[in-house]
């Protein structure tokens, strides 16, 4: 398989890159300053693309690679892959579901706790050396607060299970109501936001869900409400979110993703009711290795004409 050309579109994981190099003829996109020339030169040898949440395979790239057979994403979200184009051209697409579900759900709860209990702010306070005995500030209890989840897929369900251990009543919005669930369903995001304290975005990013968190939803969530986004940055109308937080119209936010990563709106830097993490949802040693193995496994299966492990297209 060493002659098979595989294009990895951005740096994502050293172990994955090393393993790809061992098994395939690996091209690291970021090493070629003139992308157009690179593609022209190597287009006939590249049969696979490896992408992630930052960069995948859009229509332009797919068109430039006539021998492309498979796109293997080092992520569960596929918003950076033109799925329609892949279907059209018979290109297979795989992702990394299940292996990262727990880490992302853990972070959703971790962000909720950090925002409500002002954990990062307290840590900053202690590190400043300013702690005086008798100083104190009340923060908001997490146990028992209503949690609203947008998207009750693998990650949404894992979040619900964890929140239940804190006695949080769970409600959700989904494209369709799920049968046999003890959680309360709301037919619109605005209604869900009006009836929960913590709103968590856990759905895929599609045309329909872009800016699913808009001004109306933010207003419904209100000055005591907290938004947690472990989905994709474009789920949220970021300028609206920023002004709501700065003006105190929203109680707080825990954000792992942003519209224009790696750029985080600077207006958020000074707010103590906001926690900002640099897209680390699946960022553990254990999970990244499992994700890498899944990418490698899918590519190997494809080139050996075996069934793909986690195909989406």
């Amino acid at each position: 398989m060493e002659s098979i050309g595989v294009l990895i579109v951005c740096p994502m994981n050293t172990y994955l890159e090393q393993e790809l190099e061992k098994r395939f003829n690996l091209f690291k996109f970021w090493n070629f300053p003139d992308k157009t020339q690179f593609l022209n030169t190597h287009k006939n040898s590249i049969r696979a693309v490896v992408g992630n949440a930052t960069a995948g395979a859009d229509a332009e790239l797919i068109e430039a690679l006539p021998k492309l057979e498979i796109v293997a994403s080092f992520s569960v979200g596929l918003d950076k892959v033109d799925l329609g184009k892949c279907k059209e051209k018979g290109i297979r697409v795989t992702n990394t579901p299940d292996v990262l579900t727990e880490d992302v759900a853990d972070l959703a709860i971790g962000l909720s706790l950090a925002v409500l209990r002002r954990l990062c702010e307290s840590d900053r306070y202690v590190r400043s050396g300013k702690w005086k005995k008798g100083d104190y500030k009340l923060t908001t209890k997490f146990t028992g607060k209503t949690v609203g989840i947008i998207g009750l897929g693998r990650i949404g369900m894992a979040i619900a299970k964890r929140a239940e251990a804190f006695s949080c009543p769970i409600s959700y919005y989904s494209r369709t109501e799920k049968a046999d669930l003890k959680y309360k369903y709301y037919p619109s995001v605005v209604e869900l936001a009006s009836n929960c304290h913590i709103l968590i975005v856990a759905c895929p990013l599609t045309e329909e869900t872009r800016h699913i968190i808009n001004r109306e939803v933010i207003d419904a969530l209100g000055p005591k409400g907290v938004l947690i986004n472990i989905g994709r940055g474009p789920h949220v109308d970021e300028p609206e979110l920023v002004s709501a937080l700065v003006e105190g119209r929203l109680g707080g936010a825990g954000l792992d993703v942003f519209e224009h990563e790696p750029y985080v709106p600077e207006e958020l830097f000074g707010l103590e009711n906001v926690v900002l993490t640099p897209h680390v949802g699946s960022g553990t040693v254990e999970t990244r290795k499992e994700m890498a193995d899944l990418v490698l496994g899918n590519l190997e299966a494809h080139f050996l004409n075996k069934p793909l492990i986690t195909p989406v297209v």
Binding site: E102, L107, A114, V126, Y136, F166, P262, L276
Partner: protein, 336 residues
């Protein structure tokens, strides 16, 4: 009101309502007097004479018949204070821990001690989880990274460690420890514990000593009471047994851990990380910890939510009312 009017009001009240002495350091505010005043006459020496020396003389003049004392926060109750209160029968604490009370003297005199009972357990358990997820997933550290504008420069943040599958050892499976365990199970952690004695009703594996627990754990969560036996129970041997990847979370009392050793272990990379809400000499925190990214520090506020305070008021009111009507107390602590 004039001095004589206040005094005559007081003596009128004293005839009607049972007297409760408020004992507190001036740095601790007492915020639930309104509720208690409908049931009791509250005597707060600091309102009459704020100087520490004159508090003792105030007590010896006015408090000789006092049977109930409300201790606000960790204000120390020494045998000297107790000797000025010959009629004292009950000390009502406002915290889960009562290590600031001279328990030996209370036991000798047959003075009952009550604490906050279950009022804080959920909030402290939530906080223990918050600290653990933060340490393992670098929430505060990566938040600092993002806020300093380093993300565009450095591309990515180093990966953390997965919570699921970790073996968590709980030191002290009381009210708080049980709430911690219940939450951790939902994250896919396995639970084991150490306690003064094994609880037959609990199915988690029990270790008779904390070193054995540490050997078989990836994380230790310290939530037991501070006593003479438990002081510095998390020592060099325990930290060595826990190992280089081990994480310690402390929501109990600072002195449960040998802090000097802990700092050494962390600075030298002999321990994976720590989440600390309490310290040996609050508010002093070892400065060597300030530059470590695998450590999360917080100024003893695990209980500080409006809900905990409301629950605490109920417990205090309940204990005082039970005491004065000879009914069973809500949260009496067994003094050994």
């Amino acid at each position: 009101m004039s001095e004589s009017e206040t005094q005559s009001n007081q003596s009128r009240n004293q005839q009607d309502l049972p007297v409760v002495l408020i004992h507190r350091l001036s740095i601790f505010n007492f915020s639930f007097s309104t509720r208690l005043q409908t049931h009791f006459t509250l005597v707060d020496p600091l309102l009459h004479s704020p100087e520490p020396d004159s508090i003792h003389s105030f007590l010896s003049r006015h408090a000789t018949s006092v049977s109930a004392l409300l201790c606000v926060g960790p204000s120390p109750i020494t045998s000297q204070t107790l000797s000025l209160l010959p009629s004292l029968q009950i000390v009502v604490g406002t915290s889960a821990g009562i290590d600031h009370v001279d328990l030996i003297e209370c036991r000798r005199r047959g003075i009952i001690v009550t604490n906050a009972g279950h009022a804080f357990s959920e909030d402290v358990a939530d906080y223990a989880l918050a600290l653990l997820i933060d340490v393992l997933r670098r929430v505060s550290a990566s938040d600092r990274f993002g806020r300093s504008g380093m993300w565009p420069k450095y591309g990515t943040y180093p990966v953390g460690s997965k919570l699921g599958g970790k073996r968590v050892g709980i030191v002290g499976l009381g009210s708080i420890g049980s709430e911690v365990a219940k939450r951790l199970v939902a994250f896919g952690c396995s639970i084991a514990y150490t306690s003064r004695k094994k609880n037959p009703a609990i199915s988690y594996p029990f270790y008779a000593n904390v070193c054995d627990l540490a050997t078989n754990s990836d994380v230790l969560i310290v939530c037991c009471a501070l006593t003479d036996e438990t002081r510095h129970m998390i020592n060099k041997d325990v930290m060595t047994a826990l190992g280089k990847e081990g994480v310690i979370i402390n929501v109990g009392r600072g002195s449960l851990i040998d802090e000097k050793e802990l700092v050494q272990f962390l600075v030298q990379g002999e321990l994976g990380g720590a989440g600390l809400d309490v310290f040996e000499k609050e508010p002093d925190v070892p400065k060597e910890l300030f530059t470590l990214d695998n450590v999360v520090l917080s100024p003893h506020l695990a209980v500080l939510t409006p809900e905990s305070f409301a629950a605490l008021q109920e417990v205090i009111l309940g204990n005082l009312m039970a005491f004065f009507t000879n009914k069973p107390l809500l949260s009496q602590v067994q003094l050994e």
